[in-house]
């Protein structure tokens, strides 16, 4: 068990692949070449789609957008450990996980453009919509897992959240319920070192976030979040544990947010260029590429990038082609059936509020 080998109380961190893409064979999880290439492609897509989103925002085509650059391994690694039918819950900075899970990029763009249709995912995808109130998706993950468990399905529920989220009461209440109910949950805390401008150390005096699992009676593990293999390995173990009915796991992904908090933010206010550059060297994508090339699994990165750029252009076009919501659209989903007073407010043609 990795959770036995790496004790967050001792500050131990699981790391499989170093910055040069050299892996520790003893820790390396089994992954088919097909899986590796799919992961790499998703990572490239995430990186480029994220950059594109920032550009679209600058052009006024998207609203405020939270870039995930630097956190791709941290997101995609855990998602890779899931099976079809497993649930995935996100906050707002986890595009990579969603793309792995098959949510169309155009849908995500549509969401950031400010259209509720951007939260309508393919039927049966078992991915929940973006949750903005920090940490509030965590109890949902426990409830979802509880329902699966009650029906004796072998389904696992994985939830992402940030380092800032660990300070919220709903993090605590959610994880405590999960411990008591022994639900099939995997909690992935992406510690990207910041909650907007607030540094990780200011967020909690706890030396690691993984050790917070001690409060809930289940294992926690600290993982190099820029290492896709470490993230996958830790998540795989946790997912298996959950699926076997052995309860939840907390994974702290130690990573870094390379960009601004959102496009409305300016990171220069609270951190130095030097600090960001240090982390540049740990970039999850180039690390992964180095490994894949050394292994001969990847030859032409340029080709994949070109392909993904095309996917992105199509997604943008598709999202932009979706018409803005009508008056009926914004009224009719308040309840299953529209109450008379609301009908009156909507008005026949919408001319009367």
């Amino acid at each position: 068990m990795l959770t036995d080998e790496f004790d967050p109380l001792k500050g131990e961190m699981l790391c499989v692949m170093d910055e040069e893409g050299i892996v520790d064979r003893s820790l390396m999880p089994k992954l088919s070449n097909e899986m590796l290439i799919k992961a790499y492609r998703t990572m490239v897509l995430t990186r480029l789609a994220d950059d594109k989103a920032v550009k679209l925002q600058r052009q006024g085509k998207l609203g405020a957008y939270p870039p995930s650059r630097g956190q791709e391994a941290s997101q995609i690694g855990p998602a890779m450990a899931l099976k079809e039918g497993d649930w995935l819950l996100w906050a707002f900075r986890e595009m990579g996980g969603l793309l792995w899970k098959g949510i169309p990029l155009s849908t995500l763009y549509l969401f950031w453009m400010g259209n509720e249709l951007g939260s309508v995912y393919p039927e049966g995808s078992n991915v929940t919509p973006s949750v903005v109130p920090v940490a509030s998706q965590i109890p949902h993950a426990v409830g979802i897992a509880y329902a699966s468990k009650l029906r004796k399905e072998k389904i696992v529920t994985l939830a992402y959240f940030g380092d800032g989220a660990t300070s919220e009461g709903e993090f605590h209440e959610g994880l405590n319920f999960a411990g008591v109910f022994k639900t099939p949950n995997v909690f992935v805390c992406q510690n990207n070192q910041f909650a907007i401008s607030t540094r990780r150390e200011r967020q909690s005096a706890s030396p690691t976030l993984a050790q917070k699992a001690v409060s809930y009676g289940f294992p926690g593990i600290l993982v190099d979040g820029n290492d896709i293999f470490a993230m996958f390995a830790a998540a795989k173990e946790a997912v298996d544990r959950a699926r076997k009915g052995k309860g939840p796991t907390l994974i702290e992904s130690y990573t870094y947010r390379m960009g601004d908090h959102t496009t409305s933010d300016d990171w220069r206010k609270y951190r130095t260029k030097e600090e960001v550059e240090t982390w540049q060297r740990k970039d999850p994508l180039s690390r992964f590429a180095k490994y894949l090339k050394a292994e001969g699994v990847l030859s032409d990165e340029g080709e994949i990038e070109k392909e993904m750029s095309k996917v992105i252009e199509e997604a943008v076009a598709a999202a932009e082609a979706v018409p803005a919501p009508t008056r009926k659209d914004v009224f009719e989903h308040t309840y299953a059936e529209m109450p008379p007073y609301l009908k009156w407010q909507m008005g026949p043609g919408g001319e009367r509020q």
Partner: protein, 321 residues
């Protein structure tokens, strides 16, 4: 069978759990203890600890976990031990329960019932007497339902459990054991969103819900006028049509609620009455409400709680306007 409201609620819970395996109950002390008011007594034995779930002491957690359950095919009935502690659940209720359907354009829905005792008049500790229904009634996407008798409780709770949207179900603590009435053993459903005309009359309309209804009835029985009495039952979405039909005939209305006056439901009802029937009104809508103060501890509660006299005076002011 003759039942008090506690028994009627227990019966509704039991029947719906029998009928639909996706119905689960969760909350503090709902299992082993059978609920601090014995509302869930016997259900743990009948349905097991997986469906009658004693939770840790955490209201945000209870509501949030219940929302997650609802997202994944269950129909949770979550209990808040008292309304005064339900504010801890408001983030989940306002930001998620109420919005999930619209957020996902109907893809994900939250068929959740958040049950809780509410209201004063029981000489309780601080925070055990709240009647802050307006906090919930103003949130689009939530329904708010309040029964006033055992029979009504059974019918409305059954409908709330089956409703596809989140329902905040407020139980008047004071009425739990106040009276028994005949409640059918079998399925009994009342429609949500429909007020009940308790008694017809021509001179004045008196409106209320929950624990106010027996008080209103007593007061009404003591005046000479021909009074139409309406039990609102669903506070949101509100059945203003039934109210307007009535006040258009009577031209006079008294709204009674035990919540403080300011921004209580009485204000909304008054505003809608004027909007819909101002030309019929022969007097201002009278609000008989608690004052805008914190509910006093038991020794001072009488300065706060509505009594018959206040309702009668309210009717008289309206009649004599």
């Amino acid at each position: 069978m003759m039942m008090n409201m506690v028994q009627a609620i227990n019966a509704a819970l039991r029947m719906e759990m029998e009928r639909d395996p996706s119905v689960v109950i969760l909350g503090e002390d709902v299992g082993v203890d059978g609920g601090v008011f014995r509302l869930t007594e016997g259900l743990l034995d009948r349905f097991g600890a997986d469906r009658v779930i004693d939770t840790p002491l955490a209201e945000a957690g209870i509501s949030g976990v219940a929302i997650g359950m609802a997202m994944n095919g269950l129909r949770p009935i979550a209990e808040m031990q008292f309304m005064g502690f339900s504010y801890l659940a408001l983030n989940q209720m306002i930001n998620h329960a109420a919005r999930m359907r619209n957020r996902t354009r109907g893809r994900i829905t939250i068929p959740l019932v958040l049950r809780m005792p509410y209201g004063a008049g029981i000489k309780a500790l601080e925070h055990h007497s709240e009647s802050t229904e307006a906090l919930y009634a103003q949130i689009p996407g939530l329904k708010v339902v309040v029964p006033s008798t055992p029979l009504e409780a059974k019918g409305l709770l059954t409908a709330s459990i089956r409703d596809p949207d989140p329902v905040v179900f407020l139980e008047p603590t004071r009425s739990y054991r106040m009276l028994k009435e005949e409640v059918p053993d079998g399925e009994y459903l009342l429609p949500l969103g429909k007020a009940r005309v308790v008694q017809e009359g021509d001179d004045i309309t008196v409106l209320g819900w929950g624990a106010m209804m027996p008080l209103i009835q007593k007061a009404v029985d003591k005046v000479k006028a021909s009074v139409e009495v309406i039990d609102l039952r669903t506070l949101s979405p509100m059945d203003i049509e039934t109210v307007l039909d009535s006040v258009k005939r009577t031209g006079r209305a008294v709204v009674v609620h035990e919540a403080p006056r300011t921004c209580g439901l009485g204000a909304e009802i008054a505003a809608r009455i004027y909007e819909g029937a101002i030309l019929n009104m022969e007097a201002p809508v009278e609000r008989v409400t608690a004052p805008d103060i914190t509910i006093p501890l038991p020794k001072g509660e009488d300065h706060y709680y509505i009594n018959e006299r206040m309702i009668i005076e309210g009717m008289e002011r309206t009649m004599n306007f």
